[in-house]
């Protein structure tokens, strides 16, 4: 009875995993296959062609949107990571200061706030400030502020986790050896949390590069990010150039992620091997 139910359970598990992965990946397969379709038709693959890729590169709105989004995402990633590092540092290292509980609540609040509300309320702020001091014009600045508000929250979560794991005795050792506080930070703390900074930057870059709602609220005339252009096209109907853009994105992102995780896995095994080698030397020395 026991073995029978376990057998069933194991195979049900494989079946369920396969089914959900299929569900998660169907749209990606669809985008890739139909980006090579020879006609505009959505339901049938009529033949292989690269015409939608050609159309994509000739579509100035998409190309301009791409470069704008790239710029916005790079700035957002950087600003969010810097602010997120500071916020994570405060959360982990400064346990007593006035307003700490307010601060803790505020840092993660944007994570659970619907984007429509973030977009709307920031727009109202920007309009008020603009009326008062004549700046900022709605455009790249306002979009970056909106994205970075959300980005900081994500970055803080990622970096906070890493900071908590970090071995504080390293910092204490550096201090005992006479490092100034700033030296401790730049020579010991920062190198230790670099992987989380990279993850935070990539995450917030992606967040910004993909965002529609906040950009729709905060962009101004003549400033249209790539997702906004795509959203506009998507509401009107089928446009296989978008599939071509999606395919390029999917291939770039997945090869990037796969390469990165192979690199990380290799580093991990190398470290383990080194640790093993080091302990072995120690024990042989003990034996001697």
């Amino acid at each position: 009875m026991q073995t029978a139910s376990r057998f069933l359970q194991r195979h049900f598990g494989h079946f369920w995993l396969a089914l959900v992965y299929l569900f998660l990946y169907i749209p990606l397969f669809f985008l890739i296959v139909f980006s090579f379709n020879s006609t505009r038709q959505d339901g049938v693959f009529t033949g292989f062609s690269l015409r939608w890729y050609e159309a994509l590169f000739n579509d100035s709105r998409l190309v301009e949107g791409f470069f704008l989004s790239l710029k916005v995402a790079v700035i957002t990633g950087t600003v969010s990571t810097i602010l997120g590092t500071l916020a994570a540092f405060v959360l982990v290292r400064y346990t007593k200061f006035r307003g700490r509980s307010l601060f803790t609540g505020l840092v993660s609040a944007p994570l659970v706030m619907p984007e429509v509300i973030i977009g709307l309320s920031l727009l109202l702020l920007m309009v008020a400030v603009q009326q008062a001091i004549g700046w900022p014009e709605r455009g790249i600045t306002t979009i970056v502020i909106g994205h970075a508000l959300l980005g900081m929250a994500y970055a803080a979560v990622v970096i906070e986790a890493r900071l908590r794991e970090m071995d504080r005795s390293l910092e204490e050792a550096a201090m005992d050896l006479g490092c100034r506080p700033s030296q401790v930070f730049f020579l010991v703390t920062l190198p230790n949390i670099v992987p989380s900074l990279i993850s935070a930057w990539m995450l917030t870059f992606t967040l910004s590069f993909d965002d529609v709602v906040i950009s729709e609220f905060l962009s101004g005339p003549g400033v249209t990010t790539l997702p906004q252009v795509i959203f506009g096209y998507a509401r009107r109907g089928v446009n296989p150039s978008i599939y071509a853009a999606a395919t390029i994105l999917i291939v770039t992102v997945s090869s990037g992620i796969i390469l990165y995780s192979i690199y990380m896995a290799r580093r991990q095994t190398r470290r383990e091997r080194e640790i093993k080698a080091a302990t072995r030397t120690e024990s042989t020395m003990d034996a001697v």
């Binding site: 359970q9 569900f23 169907i26 400064y94 619907p114 709307l120 309320s121 506080p181 994105l249």
Partner: protein
């Protein structure tokens, strides 16, 4: 030396705390206060989008608060001028949003729970790869994946053609712009938000407890309900809130996959703001939307605080 005290001796302490704090106060708290303020004003005179709160009436300063924006959400006067509560398009939009968010959460739980469970029980060596495969679509554009469903579900789309070819259906059935496409799209997008917190709690579970239960004569089913589910409660709650809350305010998926009758509140806020140019009402709608998600947010914060506290110990 006490590190805590040492940290406070840093000359940069003010800068380290002040920068993110000021950022949040300026770009998160202040906008919210402005939203609150505009929600209690009249529509402007055509030049300004809304009336000022402090007005000079007959030479004296008055604070003018108008609550009709809120009233108009919950009811409207009928022909004889008597207020009729309920039945406004706004209330309907809220209910539609909550309804879709609820069913999406249920679907994500049904799909995601077994999925997270089986990943947590898979061999340790393959778990990172399995998780990465969940995250990978998440890193590619959300908008494009939703757009893909439009092509799949269309009347002349892949799925209809496939079903016709199989002979399951005789003529294309409408799937796009229905409840089916909405729930499918939302479940698709938000499923990873359910899976990841569930996995995080399930992977920490000691599965020997199940074996003990079996040895003591429990059926797999009762062992599941009496042990696995209670132990993963934190993950279930976190995942459900992470799905439910953004779903209530969802804007993109209803625009692309929803029909004309599936108007959700995010869309209504947008229309009030940019089509009707009624800023005060858009603000009031947003405030009420926050009220709708306040309880789930509080639950989420409570549980994540508890989890963090547990992590620290």
């Amino acid at each position: 030396m006490n590190l805590e005290k040492w940290n406070h001796l840093l000359p940069g302490t003010r800068f380290v705390i002040g920068t993110p704090f000021a950022w949040l106060l300026i770009f998160f708290v202040a906008p919210f206060l402005i939203l609150l303020r505009i929600s209690v004003t009249d529509m402007g005179n055509g030049i300004d989008p809304f009336a000022p709160v402090v007005q000079t009436i007959e030479g004296a300063w008055h604070i003018v608060l108008k609550f009709q924006n809120y009233l108009s959400i919950f009811g409207q006067p009928d022909d004889s001028g008597v207020m009729r509560w309920g039945n406004t398009i706004y209330l309907e939009a809220y209910l539609t949003s909550v309804k879709y968010a609820f069913w999406t959460t249920v679907l994500c739980l049904i799909i995601g729970y077994p999925f997270a469970y089986f990943i947590a029980r898979a061999q340790k060596s393959v778990q990172p790869a399995l998780l990465m495969m969940v995250m990978l679509p998440f890193w590619t554009s959300f908008l494009l994946r939703v757009y893909a469903w439009k092509g799949i579900l269309a009347d002349q789309g892949v799925l209809n053609n496939f079903l016709l070819w199989l002979g399951v259906i005789q003529s294309p059935i409408q799937m796009l712009y229905t409840d089916v496409s909405m729930l499918l799209g939302m479940t698709y997008v938000y499923c990873p938000f359910m899976i990841l917190p569930l996995y995080a709690t399930l992977v920490k579970m000691d599965f020997r407890l199940l074996e003990a239960a079996y040895d003591l004569g429990a059926s797999p089913w009762s062992a599941f309900w009496l042990i696995t589910v209670p132990l993963s409660k934190a993950g279930i709650i976190a995942g459900s809130m992470l799905v439910f809350i953004p779903c209530v305010g969802e804007f993109v998926i209803p625009s692309l996959l929803g029909g004309a009758e599936n108007i959700m509140i995010g869309r209504v806020v947008w229309d009030e703001m940019f089509s009707s140019n009624n800023w005060p009402r858009a603000a009031a709608l947003a405030i009420v939307m926050i009220l709708f998600i306040l309880v789930p947010m509080a639950i989420y914060n409570h549980y994540s605080a508890e989890r963090n506290a547990a992590k620290r110990d």
